[in-house]
């Protein structure tokens, strides 16, 4: 997994609440058995006029001009601003894979759905929760200033605006540690193999039908 430490990136605003994982990556793209290649299909039904199919070449597909990510000013954005309950719905990890493959490595919202939030950390994406009032301010500033960027500092747990205003955010200690170091947590858990074996022995006595 790619580590996440600091990022100074262009911001794109998606001013919608309850963006679900079916919208982030529609079901037909879940048929792939690969890890990569989902970026061109991110928000497919909102982004293109035609119906997307797996493995199609997206370079000449007709774009919906009113969709925010199709505006030239947000090309190359690395930070996505959005609203409450982002990532609700299915557990598909294809959603964070598509977000990452498109080029975003940080999503900022007032709240996230649990499974999506967790999946982000497994893929080197930092999801940041900020208060609704701060979100309003960031949306306003993004709309007002072309080329608006934010500086994200994971070690310091801050988001800093171009004017130097800084907001703190919370992050779990273990998740922060894994993200900063790009750690594979399966390897970390396997260091606890002895504890797992000990648990299994005791549990097999108590509930033999499980073993």
């Amino acid at each position: 997994m790619q580590a996440f430490t600091t990022l100074n990136g262009l911001v794109a605003p998606m001013d919608r609440a309850n963006v679900d994982t079916d919208a982030i990556i529609p079901k037909q793209f879940l048929k792939s058995i690969k890890h990569t290649g989902y970026g061109p299909f991110l928000f497919d039904e909102w982004r293109y006029e035609d119906r997307g199919e797996p493995e199609m070449d997206c370079t000449n597909r007709p774009l919906k001009t009113d969709f925010v990510l199709n505006q030239p000013r947000y090309k190359g954005a690395q930070i996505l601003l959005t609203r409450e309950n982002f990532g609700c719905g299915s557990s598909r990890e294809h959603a964070p894979w598509a977000i990452l493959d498109y080029g975003f490595s940080c999503v900022i919202a007032s709240s996230f759905a649990d499974i999506f939030f967790n999946n982000c950390f497994k893929n080197g994406i930092l999801p940041i929760v900020l208060d609704e009032a701060i979100m309003d301010q960031l949306f306003n500033e993004t709309a007002a200033t072309e080329g608006y960027r934010l500086a994200i500092d994971l070690p310091a747990q801050t988001v800093t605006t171009p004017s130097g205003q800084s907001f703190s955010f919370a992050v779990d200690t273990f998740r922060k540690h894994c993200l900063l170091n790009g750690l594979d947590d399966i390897g970390l858990t396997l260091l606890q193999a002895e504890s797992i074996h000990t648990y299994e022995k005791a549990r097999a006595q108590q509930a033999p039908w499980l073993f």
Binding site: K27, S111, I186
Partner: protein, 467 residues
């Protein structure tokens, strides 16, 4: 102070409590399907890892399988590749799989309980958000992403932060015509799709205790639609009667021992909850979703809301978008909404009880002329077999419904079953998101009896008035 049901099951699965507040939690049962597992198996191969405990994991293909005649296999090459990848991964790693042509194949959340793979007090995971279904057995059951599928395969554990616990009590007896689906939609309408975020939900109260296991599974299935990763119901005689005698359930001396342990799986009278909500069963009317989020739901007796009644701008914009997408007008009665298709099935409502109830509604009647397709998709091969033994298939086909092979089907339209742009469907599934049942498709979530009645009438009707 006593313990909650959630706390009791959680504590039995703690391998190690870490100083940073996370817990290494042991996982008893892992269900696997073809969509969220290929990259996890690939991860095992790349790192030369083996599954930790092969017997904990059982797989079946469900999302991509055709619901029409399977003699020709899967015609869509991409879908076929994914199902074949599951077959070869299970063969390579020695995992039990009920393949596409096995009578036990079905939607993973129908197959698991039916086989006795889900037992009270277990921890259950699957790379699928509707894993919450299995909380109906007094289990902690939650959906996970593909990275965690790989983590569980490799270590039989998950690193978790303990959620808060919310109890939702529904008191009094459910009125006639009100199902577990209506209870689920009613609750989501009250607390919203983020109302349960960060919580495990426990459903309790007289109305819940009176539900069958099928009804409890429907309710817990939709806990995720309220934002909660898991929903639970305490163990009682209904639970034990369902579990007893199934292929993977304990028997003999082990059953005696298990029953003694399982009888303890309820929240103590003095247990403390982080939040508690109470509703009256008598207030629940058959529910119909009108928008593009499960929280956009109303009693069938109501009308589409006026934008002026939205609580804030964010909700108003959401409603506005939903009205445009759904092709509806504010203040229009729900019963005036005509439908094009009917879908009865899914992990929410694809069990035998659902088909019995729907068949009772359509018996001796005909699907309305404006309904282009009404389809019934059993949750598993065994549900299909049972329904056919009871003659339900004949009732459905005589009424003009199509009787299909088991799978996820038009709940999410990964196979050939889908809505065309603009088509409107009365669906017993769980999500009405934009494009969920096909690009541009319009989904209304309802119970099986409400879907069946809408199919006959051609528009939504109050099933309580059905004669």
């Amino acid at each position: 102070m006593g313990s909650t049901l959630f706390e009791k099951v959680w504590q039995q699965h703690v391998v190690k409590q870490n100083e940073d507040g996370s817990t290494l939690l042991y996982i008893d049962r892992h269900l696997v399907h073809e969509v969220t597992s290929p990259q996890a198996f690939e991860g095992l191969r790349l790192n030369a890892r083996k599954p930790w405990k092969i017997s904990a994991t059982v797989a079946t293909p469900d999302h991509n399988v055709p619901t029409t005649d399977r003699a020709q296999g899967i015609t869509d090459a991409v879908s076929r590749t994914q199902v074949e990848a599951l077959d070869s991964n299970c063969a390579e790693f020695g995992i039990t799989e009920f393949g596409m042509n096995d009578i036990r194949q079905g939607v993973v959340h129908v197959m698991g309980p039916e086989q006795g793979l889900i037992l009270p007090g277990m921890t259950v995971v699957c790379g699928d958000s509707h894993t919450s279904t299995h909380g109906a057995f007094g289990a902690i059951a939650m959906g996970i992403g593909t990275s965690e599928v790989e983590h569980v395969l490799a270590t039989q554990c998950l690193i978790q932060k303990k959620p808060k616990v919310m109890r939702i009590r529904v008191e009094g007896a459910l009125p006639v015509g009100i199902t577990g689906k209506d209870v689920a939609l009613f609750i989501i309408g009250k607390i919203g799709t983020a109302g349960g975020t960060g919580f495990a939900l426990e459903f309790a109260g007289e109305a819940i205790r009176a539900l069958s296991m099928e009804g409890r599974m429907t309710l817990c299935n939709m806990a995720i639609e309220a934002g909660a990763r898991c929903g639970m119901v305490a163990v009682d005689d209904i639970t034990l009667d369902y579990v007893k005698g199934r292929p993977y359930s304990p028997a003999g001396e082990n059953w005696q021992k298990a029953e003694t342990m399982w009888r303890e799986l309820y929240s103590d009278a003095d247990a403390k909850f982080d939040a508690e909500l109470v509703y009256q069963a008598a207030d629940i009317v058959p529910q119909v979703s009108w928008g593009t989020s499960p929280e956009m739901v109303l009693p069938v007796t109501a009308s589409i809301p006026d934008l002026a009644s939205a609580k804030d701008d964010v909700q108003r914009e959401g409603w506005q978008r939903a009205l445009v997408y759904m092709g509806l007008e504010a203040n229009m009665p729900i019963t005036a909404i005509a439908i094009d298709k009917v879908f009865i099935g899914s992990c929410t409502n694809g069990r035998i009880e659902d088909f019995r109830a729907a068949a009772a509604i359509v018996k001796g009647k005909k699907v309305a002329a404006n309904v282009k397709l009404a389809m019934v998709v059993p949750g598993s091969g065994l549900v299909k077999q049972q329904a056919e033994a009871e003659g339900l298939d004949a009732i459905f086909t005589a009424a003009g419904f199509e009787w299909r092979e088991p799978g996820c089907s038009m709940c999410l339209a990964m196979n050939a079953d889908r809505l065309e742009p603009g088509e409107r469907c009365a669906s017993t599934s769980n999500r009405n998101f934009e494009g969920r049942q096909g690009m541009g498709g319009r989904t209304h979530l309802v119970s099986p009896v409400m879907a069946a009645a809408a199919g006959i009438a051609g528009h939504f009707v109050d099933v309580r008035d059905w004669s």
